[in-house]
């Protein structure tokens, strides 16, 4: 038996050749990656340190709390934040997927391009504008519809109670949020749908799939992870949206699933924006502590999304 020529090498682990460009690039990538982590860690540290006094101090010493404890103060805000963002997401995602499919698979090319531009433009509108529109135009316009809903479908928990006279309810806020997150979800979904391999689309069509069936068995499963990611980006924006909600929603701090009444929970971000100008001393810490809650919610939701995406990893087509 002859031994391979490699055995001649005296060093068992010869060092691979290192090129300068490789080292510079990997260094740059490492720096960028660490910077993100460092920033995140710094933000988390700041939030936690500033939040501790708000939780440990006697509630009577914090004027905003007016005697109630921290958790009973923050709970309605957490509920309002998640609730309004969830409603917005439920409204926005199907519409976004529909628009994206229309652009990628149904519309003639020229129309699709124009539509794409309009969608991108929508993403560039500042949230203050959406807030103004929601408070001054949308709310009065939908108010009669809300009244009708509460009168005729009041047995349904979401539509129960007395309709708000101003129309500035959590549903209106959610509609505004939905409009705001629609462009980003649409744009991402469109890009993902356009990436569907022609091979898979043709496989479906050759089996005798109609266009919708082709989309169902080739396009949507392929884009599943991307759709979830897009929805999460939208949800992130909805959770953290401040101005629009602050302007549209007239909140009372109640925890209720009724969408159309005048008693609505506020959201964390809007509450911070509205309370901050008059906050002093420990009140600032309290508001920062609610911010920490928002941070935690976002983290949990994103982790959940990652988990859902990775659950069917071997079926993703990425192998």
């Amino acid at each position: 038996m002859s031994t391979p020529a490699v055995a001649q090498a005296p060093n068992a682990h010869p060092k691979p050749v290192q090129r300068l460009a490789d080292r510079v690039f990997s260094g740059a990538a490492l720096t960028a990656g660490s910077l993100i982590l460092a920033t995140l860690a710094a933000v988390a540290a700041f939030l936690v340190m500033q939040s501790i006094p708000a939780v440990t101090t006697d509630p009577n010493d914090i004027s905003i709390l007016s005697g109630q404890n921290f958790w009973s103060y923050v709970w309605p805000l957490v509920f309002g934040t998640v609730w309004s963002a969830a409603i917005a997401l439920v409204m926005a995602v199907p519409v976004a997927i529909g628009i994206a499919l229309f652009i990628s698979h149904y519309a003639p090319r020229r129309l699709a391009q124009g539509l794409g531009y309009v969608i991108d433009l929508l993403a560039a509108v500042p949230s203050v504008v959406f807030g103004l529109w929601g408070a001054n135009t949308l709310a009065p316009a939908v108010q009669p519809f809300y009244s009708w809903l509460t009168e005729n479908l009041g047995w349904f928990p979401l539509f129960s109670g007395q309709a708000s006279g101003t129309g500035r309810t959590i549903l209106t806020a959610s509609v505004v949020l939905a409009v705001m997150i629609l462009p980003i979800i649409t744009a991402l979904c469109r890009e993902i749908f356009l990436q569907t391999p022609v091979l898979h689309e043709e496989a479906a069509l050759a089996l005798g799939a109609t266009r919708w069936e082709m989309i169902r068995i080739a396009v949507l499963p392929f884009g599943r992870a991307g759709i979830i990611s897009a929805a999460m980006l939208g949800l992130g924006r909805a959770l953290g949206e401040t101005m629009a909600v602050a302007m549209v929603l007239s909140s009372s701090g109640a925890i209720t699933v009724a969408l159309l009444t005048s008693s609505n929970p506020s959201t964390i971000a809007a509450n911070i924006a509205l309370s901050f100008p008059e906050a002093y001393g420990l009140n600032v810490n309290l508001l920062i502590a609610t911010g920490l809650m928002l941070f935690a919610i976002t983290l949990v939701i994103n982790a959940l999304a990652r988990y859902i995406i990775s659950r069917r990893k071997e079926f993703s087509g990425a192998n």
């Binding site: 091979l199 043709e202 089996l207 005798g208 799939a209 068995i217 080739a218 499963p221 071997e314 079926f315």
Partner: protein
């Protein structure tokens, strides 16, 4: 379930560009017909017109008739979706759906259009189709694994299983072995030989040995130059095409003098 294909004076256009000109031929049921010719001569394009898959490409259209047992494929009111349900197709590169398991891939065509099928019937059909594609013994223990976990040759046989699961009348194959190694190619060629007893098979191939091995009849397509339309040069029994072609161009091509 095997049908005769008659093509009469077929022209294929991409927008204004004439890609294939004036093809007329008849393909008998329960036979294997090979299309050979240099790249770009329109044989794949022509193959796609046999189940209207060319319509997927924007601007593609045909003139002329394709009769399947006498019914015109391009007659008024003929739904291309239904056409493709009866005329299966296997592509150049294996394309199982990556998001589906092996079993789901086989049944993909059957479950289309909400056709209901009981679980036991589905199991039987999956087994029958996979056996038909000579794949059953290799995958029977991992039907729930993704189709993309198989090797290239296995994936291609999975695609064949998927195509025959809907019991088509005709099976079109567009260079089914060009992305496969010789062993997998042999497996597919054996499979074609077996499938011949039930289906009309049309296969496009660049491999002339393959054409002579698997086919009963061979059609030679050629192109006069870039920008010119592809034409059917000669169509005859495979033996005749490879031993005594009547056209000089055919002889040059099959003997390897050009192309």
């Amino acid at each position: 379930m095997s049908k005769r294909i008659e093509v009469k004076d077929l022209n294929v256009y991409y927008s204004k560009f004439l890609a294939v000109e004036d093809v007329s031929l008849t393909i008998e049921p329960r036979s294997v017909t090979a299309f050979i010719g240099p790249s770009g001569c329109g044989k794949s394009t022509f193959l796609r017109t046999l189940n209207r898959m060319h319509e997927v490409i924007p601007g593609a259209r045909v003139e002329g008739e394709v009769l399947i047992d006498g019914d015109n494929l391009y007659g008024a009111g003929v739904d291309p979706v239904l056409v493709r349900r009866n005329i299966g197709m296997v592509f150049q590169r294996p394309n199982p759906f990556p998001t589906m398991s092996i079993r789901e891939n086989v049944l993909a065509g059957v479950t289309l259009n909400n056709r209901r099928i009981s679980k036991s019937a589905a199991d039987d059909l999956a087994e029958k189709s996979l056996r038909g594609a000579n794949l059953w013994n290799e995958v029977k223990d991992r039907l729930d694994k993704p189709g993309s976990s198989l090797s290239g040759g296995q994936q291609q046989r999975l695609c064949i299983a998927r195509a025959i699961a809907v019991s088509p009348d005709i099976l079109l194959m567009d260079e089914p072995c060009s992305a496969l190694d010789p062993i997998s190619t042999l497996a597919i060629e054996d499979l074609i030989e077996e499938l011949k007893s039930e289906y009309t098979i049309v296969i496009v191939t660049h491999n002339m040995q393959q054409a002579s091995r698997v086919s009963d009849r061979t059609a030679f397509f050629n192109i006069a130059g870039t920008g010119k339309p592809g034409k059917l040069i000669e169509y005859n029994d495979t033996d005749t095409i490879f031993t005594q072609p009547t056209v000089q161009a055919t002889e040059d091509y099959v003997s390897g003098r050009f192309g």
